[in-house]
Symmetry: C2
Subunit: 329 residues, 2 copies
């Protein structure tokens, strides 16, 4: 990580285990379709045993985002903890093979590499059951302050705000980035993250973050408003740029009193919606480091998100650069 | 494995690591496109490091075959060795989740679970680099003679003829099956297997096997003939049923002086040809245990092979039963 990176992301280092199942598989177990929840090791074992054959594909929200940025030509780095085991080696191989600098040491002797058990229903919706494992062992000691100081954008994943040691690492990284006049970007990640850390997240947006990503449900949960308009009015009070994604409807960018509404990208068939938000953020920030306009950044986000939901797995498979070139006007 | 199984298969227990690459990735490394070769641990490491991001999907030739049979409603069992590691648990989970009885104990302290590094070129052709690992540690002690004696068909994978301990286990299984008047089926697996064990394979066909599967290259290699007709004339001298697969052209079944020519199944786009032969054998034997005619068995094989090459991974994803019902006349 000697060359200067456009983005340094801190997030969960997860391998996704993807299976398909009818909706009853979830309802029979009292799991809300479309949700994300954290599960302990024993529940991960039980659920895995009940799941159909899987395919293992590297995931992790911020890791997906930077894999997408690399595919678009940016130079990203990733910080996140795996264990010294086979799934950890799969994660490390895949993120490096995607063109992302990755230097976090694997932990030995603790929990195994984290994984996300993903059930995809026939409508393409994904329901995520995450066993964090080694992810939670990330700490301040894993941060290379010089890398954070040098990168244009520090990107943080709301999912990782939950465990205390990684949260401390992220707070430290924010300090370093701001002391070096770098941009700080943050994703709200999920309604359950917002509900668990509402005060922290509001404080981050008020005074520590330059760019925030969230979908409509997440921003409504953040301000506990019934309508999305009220939530956006709250968001607009902050000085940070706020990007609200709206699934197939595209996105709205709020910036300094302006409001850019960007249409979604048509998708023939949603195979697996995993990674849509991650890849939107990746496309958006790839545009940002190229110096594009905010509406163009959002359009690139919509185009790259559309690619990733057209196949299983949350990492891009198509040539994203060519795709964006062809579709962006 | 108390219930009587239709088929008991012995084969390599592998997890496939699938990546896409241009043909130059192979030619630059002197790897013949479309080939299968065995590689040692250090070469597996080097090649993996050079490969792009992967997706891990359970594989293994005979294991794929029985997974296909289970999807078609048959009751198969599988015998093959993994290590007690994460990839071994992935293999065991996936084959059981596919509906296959699997009771082979995982080895501890030896080589890790075997894997097949598969490079898929844009034409959909797969080039396989197999690190056998724990597969080779299968031995006679892993055989449950009662299960072999009870199953209608014993199915053996030519790939596993190479390492000595599994070969001895397969010879033992043949003895048990024949002593109990069970059918023995065998796949030639690959030209390299045929070339390494030509005398053994010819002997198997002459006097130990009731049903053999091979593609045109494999049967030509078996009899060292330039033309497929000469090779088929040699095959026809044996009393066993011989099924010669011809890629998109379908298959020919030779049986007791008869010759059934069966057309192939149209595929819109070959995504990944991995598992075509495996799934053909699975479809064929699923037909056989249902008491169907040989041409119908071959047609089912063509239909199921067409499904598996239309996506990444060598295990079926579609509802094979419905597919066969719709397509078989």
């Amino acid at each position: 990580m000697t060359a200067r990176n456009h983005v340094i992301a801190i997030g969960n280092a997860l391998v996704d285990v993807i299976t398909t199942a009818p909706p009853e598989f979830l309802s029979d177990r009292g799991i809300a379709k479309g949700s994300m929840r954290l599960i302990p090791a024993d529940e991960a074992e039980t659920l895995y045993a009940a799941m159909g054959p899987g395919r293992e594909i590297s995931g992790g929200s911020a890791a997906n985002t930077v894999a997408g940025m690399a595919a678009l030509g940016a130079r990203p780095a990733f910080v996140g903890r795996v264990a010294d085991d086979q799934l950890g080696r799969v994660f490390a191989h895949d993120i490096r093979a995607a063109g992302v600098a990755y230097a976090t040491a694997a932990s030995a002797g603790g929990d195994p590499t984290g994984r996300c058990l993903i059930v995809v229903t026939p409508d393409g919706e994904r329901t995520m059951n995450t066993y964090l494992g080694a992810c939670q062992e990330l700490s301040e000691a894993d941060l290379d302050a010089d890398s954070v100081a040098a990168a244009e954008i520090l990107y943080l994943e709301g999912y990782l705000w939950d465990p205390p040691a990684p949260r401390a690492a992220m707070r430290k990284a924010i300090e370093v980035a701001r002391a070096n006049s770098r941009k700080v970007a943050f994703t709200l990640s999920d309604v359950f993250c917002v509900e668990g850390h509402r005060a922290d997240f509001q404080d981050l947006l008020r005074s520590h973050v330059d760019l925030v990503f969230g979908n409509e449900n997440e921003v409504r949960a953040l301000y506990q408003t019934a309508s999305i308009d009220e939530a956006m009015a709250e968001l607009a009070k902050h000085s940070c740029i706020a990007v609200v994604t709206r699934s197939s409807e595209g996105a709205v960018v709020l910036e300094n009193g302006n409001r850019h509404v960007v249409p979604g990208e048509k998708v023939d068939r949603v195979v697996d919606s995993t990674g849509a938000g991650d890849m939107f953020a990746g496309g958006f920030m790839a545009g940002l480091v190229e110096g594009r306009s905010l509406p163009d950044c959002a359009r690139i986000g919509c185009i790259t998100a559309a690619e990733v939901i057209s196949h299983y797995g949350a990492r891009p498979e198509a040539d994203l650069k060519a795709l964006v070139k062809a579709k962006l006007r």
